[in-house]
Amino acid sequence: MTRTWQPADAAAAGRQRAGLRPPLDPLQSAARARRFGSLYYLEHWLRAMRGYGWTVALTAVGTPLVYLFGLGVGLAALVDANTSAAASLGSGRPVPYLVFVAPALLATAAIMVATDENTYPVMSGFKWRRTYYGPNASPLSSHQLVNGHCLGVLCRLLLTTGLYFLFLLPAGAVLEASGWMMILTSALGGLAFGLPVMAYAARIEEDKGQFALVQRFIVMPLFLFSGTYFPLEAMPLVVRWIGWISPLWHSTELGRVLSYGQAEPAWLTAVHLGYLALLAVAGWLAARRIYARRLGK
């Protein structure tokens, strides 16, 4: 509640004048910001995430529970009973469907989180809440905002994939010791999709439902055409290219190599990794350019 001026305020003002002095002078502040600015923004990002911590936690825990239960009890039983599985283990034994689909679930969860964090929050930073303009007036640079945001998204991705992995273990969905590395590769898959989306979101001046279109016409089709619920080879050749350019397919295939030793040539594994890294770096560079242009007007 506002109140009118009162004599006691003079004392407060006096204290302000004799107020605490910062332990750094402006040039020292600037030097620190130049070195650690990205981490300072990450700190802000993580603090703000605490505000919707429950959502983050429920998503991270609830998603694997629902999907593993639904697929493990329902679909997997059906598939395992009725198919001579398209994928097989080294010995020719068919891969249990849950094992086959688990890396895809993990990769999918990461892409969903990356989409969440790189659409509306980015738009909000520029337009609705204008939260980017505060730090932009401080010693931080626009590049550091981008870096801090990317690091924040990476933290949330690792939290999501890490927890998901912990649910996969008792479900018997991971066969190889190298399976834990899916936590990292799926997070990379999230960045490969999320950072280009971030760059796109940063370009949008007016919300005309673009994010809903991204969700419906990019994210959803990716799930259907990326060899998630069945191998890509089961698709007609004419639509297989969608999988080949889809970060979800590359992320899922990497996961299958790590999780149950899916047989594929080493060069293909390198292509998966390289492609994901390339998309992530390209998105990051584009976002840096777009943020700098938009915040520096």
Binding site: G19, P23, A30, G37, G134, P135, L295
Partner: protein
């Protein structure tokens, strides 16, 4: 503190700021007065080291903001035109997080945040959500945030636009205290009363150019008469009556809603109007303001 020479900013072919020059000294309170779209905010963003100039020279504390952006910004406190507090953080956390951008340690920021909340009269709101604050409180919190690094120079872009009169007065009081404590204030406004209250010296800006420069009193003395007689004859008649007023006062302006007669003695001018048998619906004699200066210089009113 600030030195600008032929400062220019172009967006495409349009010059938002068109070769302006000015100096601001330490401890001074300096204003940019002009209508919306005059180039005030663009100038502020160049001073604030976030927008690169197209040409001209600019030095803040002797530093070129295009080259030493972080160093320039570390010297400043900035209060933007639109609040950009983080609504996902509580009131006090907004201050602490902002202080971290300056590399300041938590051991300094925690007590400093409490001190600034007291200054902004928001101590009892420390743990509130931003949504729970009124417009005036958000402005005060934004000002508190801008002081987290104890800057010697504060940039305020239309600090009281959209606030009710009481909230404006509280804010002016806080700003006046900062000025008294030696902080250099640079502010833009399109409110002439705000400029008169807070500015030692100001430039009147229109279409990216400086129209006049000086203290509020000097500008009024130079570009207007001591008093102004405002006459309202009804919106239909103002223009037609204006011709019958010829010769009264030093100068006249006919606006859609009223006729202004500039005279050193407003009451005497009013007597002359009555002597001509004219009967305005309402009359008002007032002192000249910066609004009149602006009208004189540009032929337009400050607020559209």
């Amino acid at each position: 503190m600030i030195s600008a020479r032929n400062l220019t900013k172009k967006f495409g072919d349009v010059a938002a700021v068109d070769g302006i020059s000015f100096e601001v000294r330490a401890g001074e309170s300096f204003g940019l007065l002009g209508p919306n779209g005059a180039g005030k905010s663009t100038t502020m963003r160049m001073i604030g080291g976030v927008s690169r100039r197209s040409s001209g020279e600019l030095a803040i504390m002797g530093l070129d903001p295009d080259r030493y952006g972080p160093e320039v910004r570390a010297h400043l406190g900035v209060v933007p035109q639109q609040d950009n507090l983080d609504e996902e953080l509580r009131v006090r956390d907004n201050l602490i997080v902002y202080g971290r951008y300056f590399g300041l340690p938590h051991s300094y920021l925690r007590p400093k945040a409490d001190e600034l909340l007291e200054f902004a009269q928001l101590t009892d709101k420390a743990k509130s959500k931003i949504d729970a604050l009124s417009g005036g409180m958000k402005r005060r919190l934004t000002i508190a945030r801008s002081l987290i690094n104890e800057p010697r120079m504060l940039l305020l872009d239309e600090p009281t636009t959209g606030l009710d009169p009481q909230a404006r007065h509280i804010l002016w009081d806080r700003l006046f205290r900062l000025k008294e404590s030696g902080v250099t204030l640079i502010l833009t406004t399109h409110y002439m009363d705000e400029a008169e209250q807070l500015c030692d010296r100001l430039i009147v800006v229109d279409k990216g150019r400086i129209m006049a420069e000086g203290s509020p009193a000097a500008l009024i003395r130079e570009h207007s008469t001591r008093e102004v007689l405002e006459l309202r004859f009804g919106s239909e008649r103002n223009a037609s009556v204006a011709a019958e007023l010829a010769g009264i006062g030093e100068r006249q302006e006919t606006l859609p809603d009223r006729v202004l007669i500039y005279a050193d003695d407003g009451e005497a001018a009013l007597e002359q109007v009555s002597a001509r048998g004219l009967r305005p619906l309402t009359t008002l004699v007032r002192r000249s303001s910066l609004e009149d200066v602006f009208l004189r210089l540009t032929g337009r009113s400050l607020i559209d």
